[in-house]
Point group: C2
Chain length 446, copies 2
Amino acid sequence: MKKILVLGAGLSCSTLIRNLLENSTKHSWKVRVGDISEETAKKKIGAHKNGEAFSFDVFNQEQRCNEIKAADIVVSMLPASMHHMIADSCLNHKKNMVTASYVSDEIKNKDEEARKKGILILNEIGVDPGIDHMSAMAVIDRVKESGGELTAFRSNTGGLVAPKSDNNPWNYKFTWNPRNVVVAGQGSAAQIIVNSTYKYIPYHKLFQRIERTEIKNYGEFEVYMNRNSLKYRQSYGLEDIPTMIRGTMRRPGFCKAWDVFVQLGATDDTYTLENSENMTYRDFINTFTKYEEGKNLEEKVRKYLNIHEESIVMYKLRWLDIFKDKKIGLKNATPAQILQKILKEKWTLGKDEKDMIAMQHKFEYNLEGKNKRITSSLVVEGEDDIHTAMSITVGMPVAIAVKLILTGKIKETGVHIPVKKTIYKPILKELEEYGIKFIEDKETLA
Amino acid sequence: MKKILVLGAGLSCSTLIRNLLENSTKHSWKVRVGDISEETAKKKIGAHKNGEAFSFDVFNQEQRCNEIKAADIVVSMLPASMHHMIADSCLNHKKNMVTASYVSDEIKNKDEEARKKGILILNEIGVDPGIDHMSAMAVIDRVKESGGELTAFRSNTGGLVAPKSDNNPWNYKFTWNPRNVVVAGQGSAAQIIVNSTYKYIPYHKLFQRIERTEIKNYGEFEVYMNRNSLKYRQSYGLEDIPTMIRGTMRRPGFCKAWDVFVQLGATDDTYTLENSENMTYRDFINTFTKYEEGKNLEEKVRKYLNIHEESIVMYKLRWLDIFKDKKIGLKNATPAQILQKILKEKWTLGKDEKDMIAMQHKFEYNLEGKNKRITSSLVVEGEDDIHTAMSITVGMPVAIAVKLILTGKIKETGVHIPVKKTIYKPILKELEEYGIKFIEDKETLA
């Protein structure tokens, strides 16, 4: 029996582990799942005879070495900062390794060593990053092979709520780490290139400079720019492309309302508020407005940010209870932490509600003197609150990659992200069989 | 002869060294000035018989120890990060020390040791910090002693251009470190308290939420908030004051125009622009605007930031040449570095031009049931391009403090900033004799 070692059994691992176990009898696999909480690992395994759960501490070097030594392949679903420790042990014991996280410079630097030892460290093989790379490269390679020249590439992804569960005025619920949603876009300016002109968008303009798009059967979405749209030009072989934009999808109207929090300063995570524990939601919002004797808060916010009284933005804000006298109850909290608490009360996915992953690429290219466009769209809805769209789209590419490596269908060595045809082609094929399939539209532009 | 050791002989030291030398014969002082450049130190000394210039390297421990050992008092005018090394040597050799910089935590922690050894480390004895502390404490103590209760304190300072040299549409020129002007206000939100309500102002709103004030004979100014207005509540004994605001003064219209750069993202210092060397000023501004086929840049900026075509803001912007096709010529530059270069070409004080320091405190207090206000204002104009207002107002309080310590008029020990009456009173008195004098206005409020 081949041994698959899965390290980390958090929310995003449900579908990954289920799929590995489902295939385990046919392929004669043992699936050993370690998590800091043995309980969490056990839950994911259930009663499956090929599953083993154990308590795993990444900082216990002996355990780490022994487990990895005994495995045939290692899947690290631990927090991103821990992968390099796993990678070191995998290199020591010559084991292939798979992660869904962004490849760090630390891991990138192990490429030569991995090649020499004949092992593969495959990173960014979840959804975003992961499915985005593979589905984009499939079209990019196809266009290039047909003799086309790419002139523009837009790539957008959103973790959203499925239409059936979409029942609030923001058309949004948390389906992933809420903290990342609250601080999204902070730091340096977003960088894009449009018709060969670099454009830099500071955080306080990010949710105002949005684009719009549509997915068949799912209607309209809006898109705000990701921090760095440019860094994939090289990995995708698009060094000279005149237009490249990567963004995050939300439902129409979200960005305009979210921008209120950005403008107020309520998403700031760099300082703590005096006496936050005893403040109310209303005090919290008031702290970002001017002191004006006798004016009511809603009026001050509207005037300050130029929002019309009947605007749907005010409706969205009121619905969050931010103008209510509810106690915050968080000590020494940053604005971002307080906002996250307020939002969690309203944006949490209910027990029977489903999430949705939407992804869309738009490729513009010139072929035989004609300008053409391919629009490639994917929507995946969750099965339930365990096998969410997030868990499915992160877990399935990982599970398929593990199978293809174990069965010798993927033979690469070194440190990789899935932009090579030898890697993305067989994985995309199996994803399609599983129902994770992009729909393509082709147009010739005027 | 007593030996005064001055370490650092940069721009801000001209008046300090001149004053020490002027007093040296009367008091029988030797003034030894060390700078990393002996040339710089020599220039400041001139031909004065009581002056000695030498090349000083703060990282040469032997030299540092020998020089400090041989001195009677040490004035550190080095970059702020170097003071703690000087302080350590001063403690070792039991020498008093004076600096014009903000007291660091590292130096604060030496308070007990300094007390035990009977020496004084006096910090923040320049203009801001320095004259601001002393002049504020003089009024605060007086109001308290008269039985008044302070209800509001506003304290504003500006390094500006003197009216006679004020000949550009911004009514502003660099009179101090240009870099600090370009990045002013970045980082965490500005924090103020207004009628017992904490208010936090994010950077992208800082230059929109300004106050206005007036100084007799000098006209109107506008004020944007400093990063942290609250930290001096404790040092000033104003823990419970309902309103406290510290700000920076500019001439009317400056903030609205400066806000254009903030909104564009042109003051960002956290990333570098691709190909900055070959960009023009016009390209630089364009990089922060939307891509819009066939629209001219000025029109895009106006539309993006909602500026009227005939607005004085556009006049200010045009005057800076930011819409011109001039080459930037800086490699791998951040937006802030490029903006600084553009501004330096226009905002540099000419050879015969004079700068100006403006400072104003407003104290509101309740005395015997009546609400009163004291407005205390200071304006100092520079003598020339060497003895600038900046050099005078930084140097004179330092020079006076040195004299008062050497002559035993200031007897404190420990680590201090000048908020104690025993320190500020004799220094303010001598500053007045030198012409650095606050004008007070008293009003009873309705």
